[in-house]
């Protein structure tokens, strides 16, 4: 009955209550949508980085990330590659031979990384083949085919079928030169990646290096992101002599940015709720001051101060939660809509590429954030209620009854 009284009291001044409910709903709606866009952005950076080249887990020779010379290949790399394929939770693996090189065209030169792959294997781990804007992904029969990024092509003034000359060090320290024919040009969300990674077939690379088959990197794709830690826990002790790293360890900046987006959302939510706190307090103070006589009567007839306090607290929470739920529903629906259609940020494509995020953002907000938000609203309402409730319990009934 006290809850019913509290609820009825909210609607005694419909206009005032609706204003605060609307303010809460709109504030949270804007905040949730902005948060979902940030989260979607963070997720996009992670997804595209994983799909582009990181994969879920990578194995290198220890120290390779500090010293990526050609001689630092994985000992018995192909045997390990084969073993990893059969580990539970592993969806696909790809062995990569990595060589630092200088790419030259008739007009310019640029430092690149040659990624030697077996195209059929690589297709299951990364989606570069899907990012081709011209040409093909090693389906032709030409000699020394190469797939390069659009940014590199622009930088070197090259087109599809143009020749590109690469110079790189061999295993014995000798300098090798070779001309390659561009069979495909790809474009990903990261212009930085596009200008510095060229793909060629491992067989061609081994032939040019006059070397036995070697790999420097094993990229592992797990069946789902959720299962990655379990696969990692199997691989880490099994190949303790190698560096087994998750994408988070390999690209901490991407992991940090993604985590930071969640933190920003919480901070933004906190600021919105902090501002709302004053509005709610003011509304409830007005509600209490308008009802001094009635509250005095309730105290006079025997309503204990604890119950008066609880009633005002409940009114405040109900008022805030009504606005909060409205905001969560509108926000949730907007997020669901934009998550389905995506938000096209191609107008900001160049900035987005710098961050390595897709220009078509799919905002999303995890369920736990909605739960946390509900808790945050209740806490805000409780804090907002303290001053009005304190005023209410300190009403002197004898004086209040004679207030008109």
């Amino acid at each position: 009955m006290i809850a019913s009284l509290a609820w009825k009291n909210i609607w005694r001044n419909k206009k005032r209550s609706l204003i605060i409910i609307l303010a809460t709903a709109l504030g949270l709606w804007g905040c949730l949508l902005a948060g979902a866009i940030w989260m979607g952005w963070g997720e996009s950076m992670v997804d595209t980085a994983i799909d582009r080249d990181l994969s879920n887990i990578q194995i290198h020779k220890k120290g390779y990330t500090q010293n990526n010379e050609i001689v630092n290949f994985i000992p018995n790399g192909f045997r390990i590659l084969k073993e990893t394929q059969s580990i539970a939770g592993v969806k696909a693996v790809s062995g990569r031979t990595l060589v630092e090189a200088m790419a030259a065209s008739p007009t310019s030169t640029f430092g690149v990384k040659i990624v030697g792959i077996i195209p059929a294997q690589a297709k299951k781990v990364t989606d570069i083949y899907n990012r081709l804007i011209e040409g093909n992904y090693f389906t032709g029969n030409g000699r020394n085919p190469i797939v390069i990024g659009k940014k590199l092509a622009t930088r070197l003034g090259l087109k599809l079928h143009s020749k590109i000359v690469l110079s790189f060090q061999g295993l014995d320290g000798s300098l090798n030169y070779a001309a390659f024919r561009i069979v495909g040009i790809y474009k990903t969300e990261s212009s930085l990646f596009d200008q510095s990674n060229v793909f060629m077939q491992q067989a061609d690379l081994f032939r040019l290096l006059s070397s036995k088959p070697i790999i420097h990197e094993i990229a592992i794709r797990t069946e789902s992101a959720r299962i990655m830690p379990q696969v990692y826990d199997v691989l880490k002790p099994k190949y303790s002599h190698l560096a087994v790293q998750t994408w988070e360890e390999l690209a901490p900046e991407v992991a940090f940015t993604s985590a930071a987006m969640e933190s920003f959302t919480y901070i933004f939510l906190g600021i919105i709720l902090f501002a709302l706190l004053f509005g709610i307090t003011n509304t409830m103070l007005m509600a209490v001051m308008e009802r001094v006589r009635e509250l005095g009567v309730l105290i006079a007839v025997g309503m204990k101060k604890g119950k008066i306090f609880a009633m005002i607290l409940l009114e405040t929470i109900l008022l805030s939660i009504t606005g909060g739920i409205a905001g969560i529903v509108i926000g949730g629906l907007s997020i669901a809509y934009f998550s389905h259609t995506g938000i096209d940020l191609s107008a900001l494509a160049s900035s987005m590429e710098t961050f390595g995020a897709s220009t078509l953002l799919h905002p999303f907000l995890p369920l736990d954030m909605y739960i946390a938000l509900t808790v945050m609203i209740v806490i805000t309402a409780s804090i907002s209620a303290v001053l009005p409730a304190w005023k209410a319990v300190h009403i002197q009934p004898s004086a209040a009854i004679r207030t008109y």
Partner: protein, 229 residues
């Protein structure tokens, strides 16, 4: 043992340049089943005296005994609890909860006492029938006339099964016909339920109906007519 006993009761306000003795050394005994009017001109201390008897104000001197218990010594929450279980209040401006129906207004006091829903329902309907509002149990105060609202207030005052009812100028806002009707009701309840009524008034019609009339002047008792003492 008297139901209410005031011993050397005083209330002095020190809020102005000089102290105001609103109630000045009052000694009074009220027995069970009495139908007592506290009368006097405006500012004579009627309301203050009622507030002191009802534990809504603390005396600056003397004691208020209700069934031999000095309520002036009770702490704030004990006093609220005491009021809830021992005293019924009827106010000049009715002071019903506007968002509640007549029945809910009567029920609310019993809810505070922790009475079950079934019993609350039964008792609220019974009391509203007793005050002649059995047909209006679902009406809100704004849908009732002043006299009807005051009847709901009387039913509310009786809902807690109090030892006595304090009514502060209960007919002040009512026309003469409604006032008479309310007094009939209170008198009937006094007779049927043996309920003690103490009310303040300066309405001659009410004074005529009281069984005992205590006249106050400048906070002190000037006359006490019709009582058992």
């Amino acid at each position: 043992m008297p139901l209410i006993e005031l011993k050397n009761l005083s209330k002095t306000y020190n809020t102005t340049a000089f102290p105001v003795h609103a109630v000045n050394n009052v000694n009074l005994k009220i027995e069970k089943k009495e139908f007592t009017a506290i009368v006097g001109p405006s500012g004579s201390g009627k309301t203050t005296l009622l507030n002191l008897i009802g534990g809504l104000d603390k005396p600056t001197g003397g004691s208020v005994f209700v069934e031999d218990r000095d309520i002036a010594t009770l702490k704030s929450n004990e006093l609220i609890d005491f009021r809830l279980h021992h005293i019924g209040f009827v106010f000049q401006a009715y002071n019903l909860i506007p968002v509640f129906t007549a029945k809910e207004n009567v029920e609310f006091i019993m809810l505070l006492q922790g009475i079950s829903k079934t019993e609350r329902d039964k008792k609220a309907i019974e009391l509203l029938n007793a005050v002649g509002l059995g047909e209006r149990i679902d009406s809100r105060p704004s849908q009732l006339s002043g006299g009807q609202q005051q009847r709901v207030a009387v039913a509310r005052a009786l809902a807690s099964r109090p030892n006595f009812v304090l009514a502060d100028e209960p007919t002040a806002n009512l026309d003469s016909h409604t006032a008479e009707s309310l007094l009939d009701l209170m008198e009937q309840l006094n007779k049927d339920y043996e309920m003690t009524f103490v009310f303040s008034t300066h309405d001659p019609r009410v004074i005529k109906r009281a069984h005992r009339v205590v006249t106050l002047e400048d906070g002190a008792i000037k006359f006490d007519v019709g009582g058992k003492n």
